[in-house]
Amino acid sequence: MNVNQLLQQFQATGVQTCFHGRHIAPQIYAGLDGTNWRLKDYEARGGYQALRKILGQDGGEGMTPDQVIAEVKTSALRGRGGAGFPTGLKWSFMPRQFPGQKYLVCNSDEGEPGTCKDRDILMYNPHIVIEGMAIAAYAMGVSVGYNYIHGEIFQVYERFEEALQEARAAGYLGENILGSGFSFQLYAHHGFGAYICGEETALLESLEGKKGQPRFKPPFPASYGLYGKPTTINNTETFAAVPWIIRHGGQAYLEMGKPNNGGTKIFSVSGDVERPGNYEIPLGTPFAKLLELAGGVRGGQRLKAVIPGGSSAPVLPADIMMDLTMDYDSIAKAGSMLGSGAVIVMDETRCMVKALQRLSYFYMHESCGQCTPCREGTGWLWRVVDRIERGLGRAEDLALLDNVAENIMGRTICALGDAAAMPVRGMIKHFRHEFEYHVEHKTCMVPAYV
C-alpha cells in the first residue's frame, strides 16, 4: 500500500459529524451522504434553481439585484462567521455605480477552536456555496470572487477546486452565465496556518500575498477591500443559506427561526458529549434539545459549563445554559455570544483554570503582534493563568487578570484582543471560587481532571 492509500483510511467520512440524521429541518446539510456532493446530485436536490430563478431561466421573470437584496433582508439572515451582522444590510453597503472592479470573498478560514461546520459544508455540499456566491455576486454587481479556505483542510480545498470545475463546465460560473449576460469568475485560495487570517481584513491582506495583519476599520471592506476595491466578505455558511432563501422566500426562512434570528444554524458540538458533531437546527431551539441530539453529556456525567460560541465566547455555567435557546439574542442576553456556533461542552470533572490556561495560550500564540495591548496583554493573561494552574498563583492575581483584560478590551485594531480578554472575564465571573481555590490550596478543586 502506498502512503496516500494508507492515509485515506484515516480520513473522516462525515458519518459521525454530519450524516447522523439528527438535524432538525436542515437546509444546508439536508440529504447528504458523503458521495452525493457532485453537481448532478446537487441539481437533483434542487440545486442551482435559485440562480436560474433570479436570472429568469425556465420561463420565469427573473429578479433584479434590489429584489434579491430585499429578500435576504426579509429573511433576517445574520452573518454566520461570528459577529451576526445582518447580511442583507451588508450587501446593500456595496456601491452600485462603482466604475472599477469589485470583489466577493468567502471566508472559509474556520479556525475558531471548536468550529468545524464550514469544513463539512464544503466537503459534502460544495455547490451550495458556489450557488450562494453567484447569487450574491449578481445582487451586488460583482464579477470576481475568491473562497479563502483554511490551510489545514487541504482535502476540502481540493474538493472545492473540483466542484468549481464542474460549475464552470455546466455554465454556472464564468462568462455570460446561462446566456443571461451576467458573468462571475470564482477561484479557490488556501491559507497556511494563521488563525488571525479569519479576521476579514487580515484575510484580505493574506489574499494579497502578505502577512495576515488586520487593517483598521473603518473603512470597512465595502468601501476599501481586496486590492483597495469595494469588497463583500461573508462566511461559508452565510452564503450556503442564500439559495434556500431565494427559492422559498425570505419570509419562510425568517419563520424557520425566530424574529431577528432567521433560519437554521449549524452548531459544532465538541467536548464532553456522547456524539460530537455538527447539528443543523432552527435558531431558537433550546440548548437542552441540542445537547440531547448530541447524545447528552458523556458517560452520564453532570454538565458543568458550556462555551456557547467558539473559544472567544465567555463561558456559561450549566444552570444558565440549560434555560437558554440557541439564537443570537438569547445568548447575548445571558452575557455570552453565539459567535461561530461552536458549542464546547465540559462536564463536572473539568477544571476551569486548566481550560482557560489552554485558551489563553492559544490567543498569545495567535496574536499578530501589531497592537501593544494585545501582544503584551495576551502574554500577561497566559502567564498569570498558567501560574495559577501550576499552584504558583498569588492572592492579587485575580484582580490582575481582570485589570489586564480590561486594558485590552476596546483598545486594539481587531477583535482578537477582545476574544482573548472576554473568556478570562467570563471564567472569573462564573467560576471565581475555582480560581481562588487554586491560589489558596496550590491545587485543583477537581483532581479528577483528565
Binding site: 492515509l7 468545524c116 465538541s270
Partner: protein, 176 residues
C-alpha cells in the same frame, strides 16, 4: 538572514513546478501576481519538504516580489517549514475542544512511541512530531494532520499504532 540570502542562488525549478505555479497565478489579476505567493510556497514545501532561502528567492523572482516580502510570508504562517523536517510531519491538535477528547494524550502517546519530544524529529529522519492549534476538525478529536495535506480523524491509540506502523512499512518498501 539578509547576509545569508545575499549569497544564496535561486533554486532551479522544474517545468512541472512552474506549470503548477502558473495555474495559481492565473487566478489573480495580471498586476497582482503576489497573491499566489502562499500557494507557490506550499507547492515548494510539498515538493522539497521545506522552504529554503534558495526556494524563497526563486519564488520571489517568479512573482516579481522582494525576497524579504516572501520571507515575511514564510515566517508569518505556522505551516511553512523553515527547516527540513522528517519524511512525515505529524501535527496533533491540542487545543481545548481536542484536549477534552484526548488530543494532548494522543500527542504524548506518539511522543512515547516515537521516542521524540514534541517539536523534534526521530533519529531515522522519518517523523517530525508537533503540537498544533485548532485544525478545524474538532468534532473528530483526536485529530492529526500528516504532511500538511492529510487530516487523520478519531486517532485512538490503536489507530495511531496502525498509522505509524503503516507509514514505517511504506517507507521501508520505498513507497513513501
Amino acid at each position: 538572514m539578509s547576509t545569508e540570502t545575499a549569497a544564496v542562488q535561486p533554486l532551479a525549478l522544474s517545468e512541472a513546478t512552474l506549470a503548477r505555479f502558473a495555474r495559481e497565478v492565473a487566478k489573480y489579476p495580471a498586476d497582482q501576481r503576489q497573491s499566489a505567493v502562499m500557494a507557490c510556497l506550499a507547492i515548494i514545501q510539498q515538493e522539497y519538504g521545506w522552504v529554503s532561502p534558495a526556494a524563497e528567492l526563486a519564488v520571489a523572482n517568479y512573482l516579481g516580489m522582494a525576497p524579504i516580502a516572501v520571507h515575511e510570508v514564510t515566517t508569518f504562517y505556522n505551516m511553512y517549514n523553515q527547516q527540513p523536517v522528517g519524511r512525515f510531519k505529524l501535527n496533533v491538535c491540542t487545543n481545548l475542544p481536542c484536549q477534552l477528547r484526548d488530543g494532548a494524550k494522543a500527542l504524548q502517546y506518539l511522543a512515547d512511541k516515537l521516542g521524540v519530544a514534541p517539536g523534534g524529529t526521530t533519529a531515522d529522519g522519518l517523523f517530525t512530531l508537533q503540537a498544533s492549534e485548532c485544525l478545524g476538525a474538532c468534532a473528530d478529536a483526536p485529530v492529526m494532520l500528516v504532511n500538511d495535506r492529510h487530516m487523520c480523524s478519531f486517532m485512538s491509540d490503536e489507530r495511531l499504532d496502525q498509522l505509524i506502523d503503516g507509514l514505517r512499512a511504506a517507507a521501508q518498501e520505498g513507497q513513501a
